[in-house]
Symmetry: C2
Subunit: 355 residues, 2 copies
């Protein structure tokens, strides 16, 4: 009843790949662990020849330092975090994040950094999530998106000592670098475009004004009207969702003197508005002009194609990632101002009808 006595043989077979650690490399190169570590992280104190020899041995053995071990001793995780607190509906219809993340990844991957993503239902959970990301040491830094008025995350992250980059400039003081795309010119251009076409009753379907970009776009809208010498326009505040965009549009169009043009704070709402106009028998662009914001893929393919403001979330992602890495590297990083989004004129805008 002998258990195979030759078991060791099979074990021996595996001896081609016993885990190769820094210890093995050191022994093989005839030096100490510490020196291998020095050579790897090219720090001074290793003679050139020895350094070359160590690196060669490491390469020959196919050694990759263990991220886990390194994490424990350096107290860093080599990962960055993104916490998204959004109503699932809004999140789903807004292509901002997929593109933004693709941009972020394009920078992180070559650096061997990973992205830890959290999608949470509300702000309270959001703050808890940041705390636990830090407590667990899951990430070395985070992206702060969807800035809010008087954002509680700024002081929290400052308190936690977690490096961060904000997308856009917060309204209050912030110790973190901001990577910003100015919303104003795009909205201004939209309004100016409509004014030039001859519109005088222009309404705005705004996003949530607790969100800074919602607020900024709204302010830009108001300012643009003033600048164009037009009367104050109607503004309906929403939560940026498709459903809200649709409702707001119905509300605007079923009034006595409906607007001849509507400026939407994002594309999904504009597309929903387009649908609602159709439903109400209001022809676009003949009886109603519509502009969106973001230039999501759909814009080109709805009918009529949507005049909108072209943002570049992927570029934003790249820039934010670079900035965050720089911040962690050197302890400080400059604000970055990306080129403002530009108006793209398509078929959904035209001069107002005679009336």
């Amino acid at each position: 009843m002998n258990i195979p006595a030759n078991l060791p043989a099979s074990t021996a077979m595996k001896s081609t790949s016993p885990k190769v650690t820094i210890e093995v490399v050191a022994r093989q190169a005839g030096v100490s662990k510490g020196l291998v570590s020095f050579a790897l992280n090219n720090r001074p104190g290793v003679s050139p020849e020895t350094r070359v020899r160590i690196l060669q041995v490491a390469k020959d053995l196919g050694w990759k330092p263990s991220l886990r071990a390194r994490s424990l001793s350096t107290q860093r995780s080599y990962a960055l975090g993104l916490v998204i607190a959004r109503n699932p509906d809004v999140l789903a219809s807004d292509p901002f994040f997929p593109s933004f993340i693709a941009g972020v990844e394009s920078i992180l991957a070559p650096e061997g950094r990973a992205l830890v993503l959290s999608v949470v239902p509300d702000e309270e959970t959001e703050l808890r999530t940041y705390r636990s990301l830090v407590a667990d040491g899951r990430v070395d830094g985070v992206f702060v998106t969807d800035l809010r008025l008087n954002d509680a995350r700024i002081p929290l992250l400052a308190e936690l000592g977690l490096p961060a980059v904000t997308l856009g400039r917060p309204d209050g003081p912030s110790p973190f670098p901001a990577v910003t795309v100015d919303d104003t010119p795009g909205v201004m251009a939209s309004v100016a475009h409509l004014a030039t076409l001859g519109h005088r009753r222009i309404a705005h379907v705004a996003g949530s004004s607790t969100l800074l970009h919602g607020l900024r776009r709204r302010e830009a809208f108001t300012a643009a009207l003033r600048e164009a010498g037009l009367p104050e326009g109607q503004t309906v505040e929403t939560d940026f969702s498709v459903a809200a965009g649709s409702d707001a549009t119905r509300r605007l169009l079923t009034q006595d003197r409906p607007p001849t043009a509507i400026v939407y704070a994002n594309d999904p709402m504009a597309i929903a508005g387009l649908g609602m106009a159709h439903e109400l028998g209001v022809r676009v662009p003949d009886e109603l002009s519509i502009t969106g914001y973001d230039d999501i893929d759909f814009c080109r393919y709805v009918y009529p194609p949507l005049t909108t403001v072209s943002a570049a979330p992927m570029v934003w992602g790249r820039s934010a990632a670079s900035t965050l890495l720089a911040l962690m590297e050197s302890g400080s990083a400059d604000d970055v101002d990306l080129p403002a989004a530009r108006l793209v004129v398509r078929g959904s805008t035209a001069p107002p009808s005679g009336k």
Copy 2:
């Protein structure tokens, strides 16, 4: 020129929060590190009273075991991975992932697990990414989405020994549990619905047939036509993108005898198709009926609202996450078949016009 001699005092002030490790807890509770570890992971070999005392001390001291240290000794990361290889355009217009991820998170977060996300541009990078996630020990398991014909990821993950869950059943053998939503009934129902309305020339704008769900929907379409006793229908293969959906629609509608109904393999393409129909002056649903697949938020708000098949990516995410956790826990998990997606009839389908 004395440097403040009372510096130690300020140090003393900080003594309220010197990092509390398992060592500190052990000393405070008057036991060894090992025993604290046992108590924490409630394993046998600790007397009830001692266990309670240890846990109490841990709580009083606010001790949270270090994820990093634990990772090093257990060789696990307590994180799961999701690698998405998609053309950025397709990714951006498809709300599947945001919803799916929200579902996944709702399971992972309470378990203290994190999600590591990678978005990569192509399949080659995708495979490399899986390898490096494993090499770095970033994740303990992964989700495999967008299954392809003869998917190279299955053997790779098997070889790497990384636990995985596939979304849908692969075409070849797979050692991994599959969480599946059957595409067939939804497509069948769409076709049956159109046939019942009286349509006889029904076309299909299919997704990429290298993607299993693209292929399955296409097969279901063909089978459904046969079952309804209708002649073979036209099928145009695309890459699931909005642009391709638009092109395919133009191709179909500008023929001599265009179809009276089009079944799209996903909603974004259907919405693009709707736009193209408008552009070509083809009235929907009077002259052309349209169905989509997924029931994304937009469907309800375009005009006419889109008849589509309602999938539930959030539920899928929850189920996939649970299955993956179970697999890692117990070493095996059963396949899960989620309720098939159901047809939702809205305004984009109607009996064909007289002609």
